[in-house]
């Protein structure tokens, strides 16, 4: 399957913005597996609809997140009985707040990178393992700890990272 030059440009844009789309989905759907599925569906739609995107006009991230949002709405309709989801009203408010925040998401992302670099190695390793290797049970077993103990550690480290992020955001600098 050959690609047109414009397709290559589209792929480059998608590559550069896939992190934003993925993180956007996480603000609306908490479950990792659901986010992965929605991300997959979103990328598929983006590719199918690529002709509708104006490469000259830009604003790829907004366009991509709007498509991701539609997928989340469909997901909510299918999964209306799922207790894990917040109400649609709250979800829409969160999206509005996120959009109103301008570069809020990107600033959070940059702040997180800064804060991750401040973490001691053992804490960073635990976070990495927990997110990379999935269920805490397997990570805990490998570390010789109970899943509960590991979960508590992970919560504590996330709290440290969150405090750091908020501090960096308040200072408006990651230097």
């Amino acid at each position: 399957m050959a690609t047109e030059p414009s397709d290559n440009r589209f792929i480059t844009l998608l590559l550069a913005n896939q992190s934003s789309v993925y993180r956007f989905l996480f603000t609306l759907v908490p479950r990792h597996e659901d986010v992965e599925d929605l991300f997959q569906q979103t990328c598929l739609t983006l590719w199918q609809e690529r002709a509708k995107f104006d490469l000259e006009k830009g604003a790829f991230a907004s366009w991509a997140c709007a498509i991701a949002h539609n997928h989340v709405r469909n997901f909510r309709r299918r999964e209306s009985t799922r207790q894990a989801l917040l109400s649609e009203e709250v979800a829409e408010l969160l999206v509005t707040s996120r959009e109103a925040g301008g570069r809020f998401s990107e600033e959070c992302h940059q702040a997180l990178q800064h804060c991750l670099n401040q973490l001691p190695t053992h804490q960073k390793t635990l976070v990495e393992k927990s997110y990379r290797e999935g269920p805490l049970k397997s990570t805990a077993a490998a570390a010789g700890r109970s899943a509960n103990a590991l979960y508590k550690s992970l919560r504590r480290i996330r709290a440290i990272l969150h405090d750091c992020m908020l501090r960096v955001l308040a200072e408006g600098s990651t230097s």
């Binding site: 707040s97 940059q110 991750l116 976070v127």
Partner: protein, 531 residues
Amino acid sequence: MNADQAARLRDWADDYVAGALGPAEREALERELLTSEEARRFFLSYLELHAGLAWQFRGLECELPDFREVKPTRPSRSRRWRWSLPWAAAVLAVAAAVWVWLRGAPREPGADSGPVFAVVRETLRGRWADGREVRVSESVGRGPWRLQSGLISLSGDDGVELLVEGPAVAQWLGAQHVRLTSGTVVVRMPEGGSGFVVETAQMRVTDLGTEFGVSVSPSGDERVQVYRGRVRAEAAASGEARELKAGSALRCSAEGELAPAAFVEDRFIRRMPRTTPTTPGGPLYNRSAVESVAVMRATNEVSVDGQLTEWNRGTFFKSACEPPYAATYFVEGGMMYDATHLYVAAHVGDPEPMRNASRDGFQFAGGSVIVRLSTDRRLGWPLQGINPVFRPTNPSRKLLADSTNERVTSLILWHDAKSGRASLDLQHSFEWEPAVAAPPGWKGTFQKDADGLGYTLEYAIPWRLLHCESDPPRAGDVMGALWTVHWSDAEGRICFGQLTDVTNQNPPASPPLSPAAFFLSGPHWGRAVFQ
């Protein structure tokens, strides 16, 4: 928002992302989110944290996809990520197959199609291990890949740019995470970005907002050098961590010990050269058809003057790169010996002759001829010795002895453009200790062709340097041998291509290697037949 409210919100957020939020808590959380913009921002910032971590450490969890079998309209319920997108197929059609580094054989179509972590932005005679030219807009996904030669620029997630110099073996482990097995890479983060990780066998180098280079030499010597900003380098074995500032460098030994190193500005190539080669470009590689080289007995004293008057050039083997470069990039090589010396002569077609800028640790890349030779007749032919990478977990005593035999030597012959002199570096055995400059006693010279499109080299190397002065090779001996030629850019810095010849024409099925990696495997070497 007071501390109690913040703590409560964070607890709820934690339970929410863990799927453990009870009905009463969810109701309370929704009440707060509906009524307070501050609470929404706080909650969102926590979700951004969770999302950022999930993205950052995504990658290794991905299972191999098969986009051909996917019915994209049906949402999957798989826990694992399946990269089953037509766009990925399109990308990968452009990329074709990035060959497995050690195999030199293409992967099954689609079998390597994973998340796309980077695309090729620029290439300067970049060539993959299979000889395929690197093309702009090719995508690079998860899985190991090998750049045989040239220089390529990769653009990754969040604007990170990597400049990879061949030969290099690397692997993307995640959007912000690369494993470098060998070669050099320069990482440049966009303004405000940080967190990119380059992992090597011995180190983990984390960018703290910067531009830095990491190199892993064939011998396992690892270095990190910081051009801008800061990085943190951690030794994998000990956990020892050091923070490096711009203008500093660090070395990690094969034993995993960190030590300061000299900052050498030009150790890494930081920018894609803007000069356009005036000579024919494109992929430079050959298809080996030569299995043996005759090593003739020297009947007269050999004068190392580059004139080759004592040589019978009819005994030279000739090998050339694939058309249309055969007339420009070639080698004619010969070998002689007597009781005290090995003699090597070669005429190399090279439009940028004798330009080697002698970059520390990468001298071969600036243009070189490497002659590898066994001088221990007990090893026979084909050689069995092999690099540790390919050895079984419990190698036989003989395999271990063959692999560590110090009478297997690589002679790296190159012209140092800075000093204007011939150079000789040596490596012994298949263990790949760092190459070292040969001790005194050898002679070598280079002569540029009159038309400036090649050079002739001539060396006399005492058997002593090949650890066999008491029992040098003699007529009738058949020894393992391998020849490699490297060509560079006009600055003598970037390897543009290579030729490998004098190889076993019936190589073993295992390990399945590309010719560029034959030097690691004795069974792939050809023969030096002493006359």
